[in-house]
């Protein structure tokens, strides 16, 4: 896909100016669907935290959407997709200079659509990291973190695999829809963020439970919906690998969910709902890098396999001192890692027109995938660690302990998610206020 192969049969539908109307239709919708994933993530995450942090958690996603969008068109797109060196792009496209409605080189969709689609990837990747630090990171600090991280971590990693001069692209690493810059980048950045920001004060001492499981289920479901745009949209056309990526995005999460419920059941006789929501995400992440490269039956296998390391980590992590709160590392980092390696084994040129993996006679592909699976975690972790450490030298990145106890909705946003109105006294700007000055004498209890 990102090799920008043109599938000859499709050219007939392409107009004189090089635009394929059907492909453009699909990419417009796919982009909208991916853009909807970020609020869906906000809802998913909001359901998993306590009621007193629900708005803040949702707002981290929406806030990321605001600042990452602007960052992307100002500079991120240029750094990621402009030609430069193997590591990062040049500045020829800053402020969308030289970007037009004409086709993106090698594709049959307008470059503006390509920019939008890629923006949606950057946005959600940044938003994902919030899962590691909910319930204690300062909202302002997170908003400052997002654009810096988008430029320093996301853009280079996207360049590595998706720019024609990226060092991993040059080594023919296969990454259909973002195992490297989206899944491993967010997962291992989340780990770094959890380490730098530190655990919540109640972590490991009190039971901190999801306040609304229905939000979590609905959020995960909307994420799944958007993921069809995410993965099948990464074909940038309706033919080619889009249909394959589409069905694989149905089958892999379905397999992960089936396996996850089974493990849950075998361990405790209960197939948990929060587990199921997680499994959907894990399966979708696992198939993300592989969606256009492996057969549907391999996708089922990948979905099933991806459950195992993620499940194990999710059970084990809360027993440690590591408060990587919503398990971004397990659900994204580890599942993305699984998917990237799986390609090296199961990629099938008969399905993807691009290349085979080990099991189909091309052992070298596995080596390339191992390279990507090794480099991405290191860079993402290190980059995020250094960035947040530097930020914490400049200012506070987590809230005061009292504010954490009171909840971040009140302390960061001055609101509660669920209000009733009793005991809330209106400030009436037009009338004298309740005489607050009145002397307070010892009186009742």
């Amino acid at each position: 896909m990102h090799d920008f192969i043109s599938f000859p049969g499709l050219l007939a539908a392409v107009t004189k100016d090089g635009i394929d109307s059907g492909a453009t239709a699909w990419m417009l919708v796919a982009t909208a669907m991916v853009l909807m994933m970020t609020p869906a993530l906000g809802l998913f995450y909001a359901g998993l935290v306590r009621a007193k942090n629900a708005l803040n958690t949702f707002m981290m996603s929406l806030g990321a959407m605001a600042v990452a969008s602007i960052t992307w068109v100002v500079i991120g797109y240029s750094l990621a997709f402009d030609k430069g060196n193997g590591f990062i792009g040049d500045l020829h496209n800053v402020f969308l200079r030289n970007v037009t409605n004409g086709p993106r080189a090698g594709l049959h969709i307008p470059e503006l659509v390509f920019v939008s689609f890629q923006a949606s990837f950057c946005i959600i990747t940044a938003a994902l990291i919030s899962g590691a630090v909910v319930e204690r990171m300062r909202f302002g600090a997170f908003l400052a973190f997002v654009p810096l991280w988008a430029c320093l971590v996301y853009a280079p990693m996207a360049h590595w695999v998706w720019s024609s001069d990226g060092w991993l692209a040059n080594r023919h690493v296969m990454d259909f829809a973002g195992g490297v810059p989206v899944e491993m980048a967010s997962g291992f950045s989340a780990l770094a963020a959890a380490v730098v920001v530190g655990a919540r004060k109640d972590f490991g001492r009190q039971a901190v439970l999801p306040h609304n499981g229905v939000y979590a289920l609905l959020g995960a479901s909307l994420l799944w919906f958007g993921w069809f745009g995410f993965n099948a949209g990464s074909a940038f056309t309706t033919g080619g690998q889009a249909p394959l990526a589409f069905i694989n995005t149905l089958l892999a999460p379905a397999a992960t969910l089936s396996v996850w419920m089974l493990i849950d059941y075998l361990r405790g006789r209960k197939a948990t709902a929060i587990g199921a929501a997680t499994a959907i995400v894990v399966g979708a992440v696992g198939i993300t890098p592989a969606a256009g490269f492996v057969s549907p039956m391999s996708a089922i296998l990948l979905g099933a396999l991806a459950a195992l390391p993620a499940y194990t980590l999710i059970v084990w992590r809360p027993r440690t001192r590591l408060d990587e709160t919503l398990d971004v590392l397990a659900a994204h980092g580890l599942a993305g890692f699984t998917g990237i390696l799986f390609i090296g084994l199961f990629a099938q040129a008969s399905w993807n027109l691009t290349g085979n993996g080990l099991l189909f006679g091309n052992p070298i592909q596995l080596g390339r995938q191992v390279l990507a699976a090794g480099a991405a975690p290191v860079y993402a972790f290190a980059g995020t660690f250094v960035l947040l450490k530097l930020m914490s030298l400049v200012g506070r990145i987590r809230v005061h302990e009292a504010d954490e106890g009171q909840g971040l909705d009140v302390s960061q946003h001055g609101e509660e998610a669920y209000t009733h109105g009793e005991g809330a006294i209106l400030f009436r700007p037009l009338e004298p206020e309740l005489e607050d000055a009145e002397e307070r004498t010892p009186s009742a209890v």
Binding site: A207, T272, I274, I314, R317, P318
Partner: protein
Amino acid sequence: MKLVIGIVRPEKANDVLEALYRAKVRGLSMSRIRGHGGETDSVETYRGTTVKVELADKIRFEVGVSDNFVQPTVDAIAKAARTGEVGDGKIFVVPVEKVVRIRTGEEDTAAVTPVLER
């Protein structure tokens, strides 16, 4: 006058309401609470976090009655709420020194006599 506080199972709440109605008790208040007694705890798991949930949902009735209504009220609640299983709940009778009906300002026994003209 007394305040009869009855803590019962949620699924018995409607039976209690009906029993109180039949006992001609007309005013009462009710809230959703959680309780811990002899019931077995349940274990719940939220991803990696396993917890023992020690509290079960209950309904708390609070009924202000004049003295000669105390026993009928207690009996009505106890009978309607009983299943015989652990967790049926408790009834407490607390003395009340004064009652006021807010609408009229009537006090004590007058305050607890329902008005008929509704």
